[in-house]
Symmetry: C2
Subunit: 253 residues, 2 copies
């Protein structure tokens, strides 16, 4: 982040994906469709929804038998018992229940509403999309696939949309990363006036995910991937889990 130039955020249009599709190939094709080609240092931010879909992480609520606890909780949060059962299966801890809000810690450790289980952009009336089982692995498979197809070294972020305390509206965050360190430390660097920065750790992968959200639509635009070009990042490996604040360091848990 030392010598900064213009950063471009390029929307990539993909066809509707289905289980088993090769996202790396679809992404490489979509870059070609823009009249460009994959370059070293490109960052691809991929909405988890299409990752979940190609990985078969879409299930029908009709197949779910809710437990007694799920049914009780469902009444409290005014959701269907089947949906709450799925949310609980995707969670390792309930963080907060209040009004219709059900905030849990997912199997990966992410703290978010409904364990990331999503009703929208899912084929079928009663189907829901779950988060990828291993978002870092998903990012790494796409990164590796793009490397094999093009010989280019890129970074890949699998992103999701989260609400947050204190502020209205959702923003985007990184669930999985490959080929990039999701955190950038300013510690020990000097500021404009020579002051040594004490503890600024920047969530670079979350900034990239939010930047990508300027072109990735929630609705029917068909842009599930953004190519971010011109951003110089540290390619030390890291994990999306590096962005999870450990519970014992989290003063709001």
């Amino acid at each position: 982040m030392e010598k900064v130039g213009v950063v471009n955020i390029i929307p990539l249009r993909l066809p509707l994906v289905k289980e088993g599709d090769d996202l790396a190939k679809l992404i490489v094709d979509s870059v070609r469709d823009t009249g460009s080609r994959v370059e070293n240092g490109d960052v691809f931010v991929v909405a988890h929804k299409i990752v979940s879909r190609v990985e078969g992480r879409v299930i029908s609520l009709n197949d779910i038998k809710p437990s007694f606890f799920a049914a009780t909780l469902a009444e409290y949060v005014e959701k269907s018992p089947e949906l709450v059962e799925v949310i609980l299966r995707e969670s390792r801890k309930i963080v907060k229940v209040k009004g219709r809000h059900l905030i849990t810690e997912t199997r990966h450790g992410f703290v978010c509403a409904n364990a990331g289980v999503d009703l929208s952009n899912t084929p079928g009336e009663d189907s829901v999309t779950l988060l990828p089982l291993d978002p870092d692995g998903s990012a790494e498979r796409i990164r590796g696939g793009i490397f094999r197809l093009t010989g280019r070294k890129v970074a890949v972020i699998v992103s999701d949309t989260h609400g947050r305390p204190f502020r209205c509206g959702v923003v985007n965050v990184a669930l999985g990363v490959a080929g990039l360190n999701p955190l950038f430390s300013y510690v020990g660097k000097r500021d404009l006036f020579g002051y040594r920065m004490q503890h600024t750790l920047v969530a670079v992968a979350d900034l990239l995910a939010s930047a990508a959200a300027l072109v990735i639509g929630q609705c029917s635009e068909g842009v599930p991937v953004a190519l971010i070009r011109g951003f110089v990042f540290s390619d030390e490996e890291g994990s999306g889990k590096d962005l999870i604040r450990p519970e014992e360091q989290d003063i709001f848990r």
Copy 2:
């Protein structure tokens, strides 16, 4: 956000600013320095630090007499009594004190560490930078100034860097906005499969602030402003305060 094209994030280099400087003029000049000129629909994200500086919101801790309460609290959070006194003066409520963390609600309503009072990028050993008194007003003055100089209708966001619960690292958020609605609602819009979105409200201004942070440095790069070009936004007026979640709707307060 319906028909999306490429979004460019352009770093703008400004000279070191001092109290009374005309930010609108400096920004227009900096766009010219890039070989371009201001266009309708440009979004300027301005780090609050330079806004605070031109507005004289830099104070010396040597001039501060800490209260007894500030001195007691200072011992607890391991900060200087003068700094804690300033933080309390900038706050209307203490939200959480734990370890070295002092989270307050600022005079504007933002919930953040140390009421946004910052030791870095400040001239002078013992001086600190405070948040602008009225970030919306600051944004509006810059927006109006750019309009008078160029005749172009732009949007302006005054941004800050915040930590957050659950996730490591800081991201950027909008404190003040002018010429743009900081929230975008998908409510009632249809997704790819015809499902009507229930409650997705996107914090567009925070996405823009975080995107800008890809080029705005914390350190000595001298890039305090980003020009975001190509993003189609709703120019209904709004306020940075629209992004503050009211306490009674905040399940983590």
